[in-house]
């Protein structure tokens, strides 16, 4: 699917002087924030396959701390329910620090009020788990545009 997407985008961008999608993907960085080891493993594998350099942390506090240490990422995959600092608190904190990265909420919650609260914390988008290649592709397309 990744190869097909690249081929379509290359055909569309030919002659327009735009960066080839695979070049863009390999320059992007992502932070995975999730307390579940299996989820971190899956999300990192997806990002690796898409050519996105990535790092993972286990909770919202670690996500905030890593930004305090002057690291930055093009996108952040943020879980909602985590110990120590949850995704809502972490997202609010990152936005208050002036972090302008694309923050995607990724959680298994499908309750409207919970999603709204998470979005209002400062998310760019919200995806219901399981996070798939199709979802990642749409996010990369948004970053590209």
């Amino acid at each position: 699917m990744e190869k097909e997407r690249v081929q379509v985008m290359e055909a569309e961008n030919k002659g327009k002087g735009l960066m080839a999608p695979e070049d863009l993907a390999t320059k992007l960085t992502a932070l995975v924030v999730d307390d579940d080891k299996l989820t971190r493993m899956l999300h990192q594998r997806l990002l690796n396959k898409a050519g996105v350099k990535n790092h993972a942390v286990e909770n919202g506090k670690e996500a905030v701390d890593i930004h305090r240490s002057a690291q930055s990422f093009d996108m952040i995959l943020m879980d909602k329910d985590m110990p120590i600092m949850n995704g809502i608190e972490a997202t609010k904190k990152l936005r208050s620090m002036g972090i302008g990265s694309m923050i995607i909420g990724v959680s298994s919650s499908s309750k409207e009020e919970e999603i709204r609260e998470f979005m209002e914390a400062g998310l760019n988008d919200y995806k219901v788990k399981p996070f798939t290649f199709t979802m990642l592709s749409s996010i990369l397309d948004k970053i590209n545009s």
């Binding site: 989820t39 594998r45 997806l46 399981p130 290649f133």
Partner: protein, 151 residues
């Protein structure tokens, strides 16, 4: 038995797991993440899932044995299990978790206890079916063949 027969058994067993609802499309997504750079990815993920499952089911059981029962705590474990089962494509397990959460919301102890039993049963079935599938995979690889995948 030769490679072709092992591959046929593997294909048939995997197809039946999908037909009977044990697995859904997310399992195919997992298989697509496996390649020469990560050749054991699916088995690694599923092994982790088995460990998580046993841990979470045990946590649910202990939480339901407390007096009084903290249904929010039970729900937290079920919510986590719903997430991890959805992530690996364990459809029947995930569906039991959905029902289980409803009983937690309603603070229905009897309903929760039934769901726990169902969860243990579904997990046990899933585990033995997946272990059989991985056993067939090992036979195919030992015979020098490639693992069939569902498109």
């Amino acid at each position: 038995m030769d490679v072709i027969q092992w591959q046929r058994q593997h294909r048939d067993h995997q197809a039946s797991m999908f037909r009977e609802g044990f697995l859904d499309d997310q399992f195919i997504q997992l298989q697509k993440l496996q390649d020469e750079t990560s050749p054991d990815f699916v088995i690694e993920v599923i092994t982790m899932f088995f460990a998580d499952s046993e841990n979470l089911i045990n946590n649910m059981k202990q939480a339901l044995e407390q007096t009084p029962v903290d249904f929010r705590q039970v729900d937290a474990h079920v919510h986590q299990y719903k997430g991890s089962s959805a992530s690996v494509g364990a459809a029947r397990v995930k569906n039991v978790c959905v029902t289980f959460r409803n009983f937690c919301d309603a603070q229905n102890l009897e309903g929760c206890a039934r769901c726990l039993q169902q969860l243990q049963h579904e997990y046990s079935l899933l585990k033995s079916n997946l272990q059989h599938l991985f056993g067939l995979q090992q036979q195919i690889q030992a015979a020098g063949g490639s693992i069939p995948t569902i498109e």
